[in-house]
Symmetry: D2
Subunit: 343 residues, 4 copies
């Protein structure tokens, strides 16, 4: 960490401030006296140093972090890829491209089982489906909740596909004991109390980037989970909010190679939420694979026009089959192999 002090500080102020920094943060401070300004360098583990509090000091002009503020998620300290492997071919990372597919909301047994069978046949390695649904309006369908989880388990039994579903409150954790991967939605990316609780459980967590969150903040939220003890985190880029209104969000495709370089955690892309338009899912999914994604999460519905949520962005099983086939075709060119469920 580099701290530039304001012009005119005295040597005594510098020494006092340095001592205070060393005491509060277990770091070593070196001062460099320039002609017009003094620069301090902090050595040691600065991840816990509060950059805002330092910036608030009267004598400080500006502060700059040199090291990343995340440690457990940082590839520097963990060079090898983290792989989420649920067995029987369902894997994400380490050269395996995992496709998580299924409806936005679980609606009924017939729907979820049918979609699960269809996506498995087409090449999905995981089944997604929302039981607890975050909806902008309190008057919109809120999901089947506990019953939805029950139906997902049933669909897993029928197909063998591991299930991925979203949690919205720490209080629901007891219901998620039998879920394979717990998803944290974009709106909860900085629900820190939830993240801490998820850090105490032993399941992989699919963590979606928030609509207005930076790449660094996504990694800091992963760090919350990991610092609480759970190192199996999957990062998900799902589009950020910008001024463009033609798509629901703007897919930040550069986040994929950036996250892969900065972190060892696997990265998946959600082209369905990123675009909000079904015919855009295929080009965005292909672009994600080309950019280095380890997986995709895609909404598939047997009857999109009658879906209880997000119909506009859902693929039909036939469209999904075509997409999965395209991905199987191109994956090897990008050093990946489609993760295929074997039961």
């Amino acid at each position: 960490m580099i701290i530039v002090l304001k012009p005119g500080v005295t040597q005594k102020q510098v020494e006092e401030f340095s001592r205070q920094l060393e005491k509060q943060n277990s770091v070593k401070v070196n001062a460099w006296y320039g002609e017009h300004s003094v620069v301090l360098g902090l050595l040691g583990d600065t991840a816990a140093v509060d950059i805002e509090s330092i910036g608030a000091q009267d004598i400080v002009q500006s502060v700059k972090r040199v090291q990343e503020p995340y440690k457990k998620a940082n590839r520097k300290f963990h060079p090898d890829d983290t792989v989420i492997d649920l067995g029987n071919g369902s894997a994400i990372g380490g050269g395996k491209l995992g496709i998580i597919a299924g409806p936005c909301s679980v609606e009924c047994e017939e729907q979820i089982v049918q979609v699960a069978q269809d996506v498995k046949t087409a090449g999905a390695g995981f089944l997604r489906g929302g039981a607890f649904k975050p909806r902008t309006s309190p008057y919109a369908f809120q999901g089947l909740r506990a019953e939805g989880l029950e139906l997902l388990r049933h669909a897993r039994k029928q197909t063998g596909l591991p299930i991925v579903t979203e949690i919205m409150s720490p209080a629901h954790l007891v219901l998620f004991e039998d879920v394979d991967i717990i998803q944290v939605g974009a709106r909860n990316m900085q629900n820190f109390e939830l993240l801490k609780e998820l850090g105490k459980c032993d399941k992989p967590i699919l963590l979606k980037r928030g609509l207005a969150n930076t790449i660094e903040e996504l990694l800091m939220s992963a760090e919350y989970i990991m610092a609480s003890g759970n190192s199996r985190v999957i990062l998900c880029e799902r589009g950020i909010r910008t001024f463009e209104t033609m798509t629901r969000n703007t897919l930040d495709i550069a986040a994929v190679p950036l996250l892969k370089k900065l972190s060892h955690l696997p990265v998946v892309v959600d082209p369905s939420h990123a675009s909000g338009i079904s015919w855009l899912v295929e080009p965005l999914a292909l672009a994600a694979v080309a950019a280095g994604a380890d997986g995709l999460i895609i909404e598939v519905h047997n009857d999109p026009p009658h879906a209880l949520s997000d119909g506009a962005q859902s693929l039909t099983p036939a469209q999904f089959e075509q997409l999965a086939s395209r991905i199987r075709e191109i994956a090897p060119l990008f050093g990946k192999e489609l993760s295929v469920r074997q039961d």
Copy 2:
């Protein structure tokens, strides 16, 4: 709600779709056959109609809402201002300008009591202070939690000021029974499970706008609380995230008159978080009052450089006193009177 159908739809399709809409939504559908396209008009209560699901229909080209999707928060159905009056002069709305002041984090008894006394003397009607702190980094100070709430209650006892503090999880609600106003932070504005729980309690809720949330989404989150039974919601504009980096956020000053027109709920502004820079707090606070705000929430710390969080944006008690005095001076010109605590 106006639905434009795609060119080439048959009269039979139009009739079938209209019947389906009427059945699902208890609305009446009128069809208008134009030369090149057919337009449907939905009459009745369309707040619960799922606009996305309609947009997903094969025969639909586009959908447009004519009525607002919120009802309980809507000024149309509740023309009179909602006033949050906690007695003894502490009020927000209805011509009373309430100032909520205090430190970002409660740190110790001495600090919170001292700041409480200072801000009360200067003209604050409410005491703020964070006990549970949402921090980007898991390694940063997370607040004193239950102990912080205890200290707030102690400061209230000493000064009479009602206390405003942030909740981060429904599980903590039991600890907030003795809090006067519960704050929902920007990162939790769409933590819908939390909003539903807050809708069941009998305390005023200060709801902050999320970093990437629209004005309509803020009103929909208020609607969540109100639809669950709690109509005492205070809306808070605290800046949105944009490309500008010189300030921490961009204060959307137009949100104040817009929210006042669209809703009957009181609107407060947080110039401290909006700017992140202490010397900007005064001009932004004055602008907020000029734009019609019903209140302000301002960070004040007895020793900003040593604050455990957000020091850079905190005012000293002396700076706050000057600001409160300026506000007292200008408020009458904007039809407001400073809410002053009387004990």
Copy 3:
């Protein structure tokens, strides 16, 4: 165009307003009287109808365009792909993937000839190089201007590569007579006086999307050029400005398939400016091809650390060769063939 009138308008007002609309816009207006509101439908060519002026009418609640406001750029009226073919293998569109490569700024004869030869050998079909440089600071290098154009012509003579370079003022047009493709930079996308002048010349125009411009605005700027008589426009996605600071801009990858669907014009992507980081150029370039781009524009410099501008995002010739080789490899999977210069 659909116009929703305010509740309470009289039939006389509706008829008068309809007559006025028909008179001003050569359209036909149909009125649909609903229970609570009246909706007007405008039939005919509404591209020139001023949507803002209609929205300003006292009796209007809201207006919605049904047809796109662009015509000449619209694929609906021109289903076949526009191909920019400069002969000898240098083509963009129609299945040909054109790579435009070269330095940000032309610096000297040796530099531009060397880079031109290198990128040609590696597979570029066009040479780029800035002679007139838009720089944020008046104190930064502003380009070699007329001399830079001369050096580009020289490099073309040595290599046969057509040259692409940016214009910044209509007054410079006389100097661009011998340029093969004229580029309009992001900061000039809505320099309408410049666009009109470019519409009168007979050269292909590479039009870059502005930092804060929507996809529709990009198409409207293309329409400016086309409406003035020049139909050879190449659209360029180069990243938009968002809150994310890790990259220079945010590449809006979804713009590629959207522009391809809405328009017949070829679409190229600039991964160098989109990211601002040289090692991100390859993954973004691959993603662009996967998303359907017809071309790429890439900064290559023989000595990036000593480049007079944009060194941080420039590839070395060796890095570019590797990228071109990767693109040649994957292009066929996306229905494209690398456009290779043959001389």
Copy 4:
């Protein structure tokens, strides 16, 4: 300027790089050898140092500017407020609050003269009116151009009000010789060739902030004009583009105090374009004055529903009169006095 080098650089590399920096930039470089990294400090005038080119060096980890990159616009080097005083009471800055009012577009003699008289009577010190209009669509009304300028001169003759109008191309400068203040629109804020030409003329320039431009970039564009010789620049905040769609733009109210602190140039606010909604103009104008603005630019039309452009955001003369009266009332509380035209 502070440059952090990558871990592992040798002393020889540091010395060589330092020498190179000193030679290229006429600065002095001090090196500070820390335990894990080396930090360089550049002393002297670093405004012209190319920060990107330094960041591109292989051995550089990151660069940070300590000094602002603008000099002539910088308050540090010019502590006193710049005042634009056109005589007879028409002034902006130095305690004078100037109101620039008039129609978006000049439409005909009757309109412009009528509006000019109305706004003068109400309290405007300047007349605005567009002759050259930047419109998104080539099919929209483009302004009366030279004829519009003629009509503005005529209105000035009738009322004595100095005229403010927008230029779109350096080629039109010859037509603007008799204009009092030349406006640069948001879309041309980084039309650097235009800025350079305006720097050579002797008229005040009203420079509007671009939709996606930072405060620093606005100051750099002012610096372009000033570096070319014209120091009379008025800065204008007119809203930036964000994700919020309820207003046309988002007024960045904090830009007002920030610009006033960073620069000595006067700052005006355009609440009409910032909001795009006529009833929002008053609260935003009052907020601007409260935040410290030196002036306002406001659209007034004698018949908004029939305005050829921007009718939705125009005030009627009666509404403007009420607004001017409110501003006259509150200005003294913010240390300002309304600039009133005296003829």
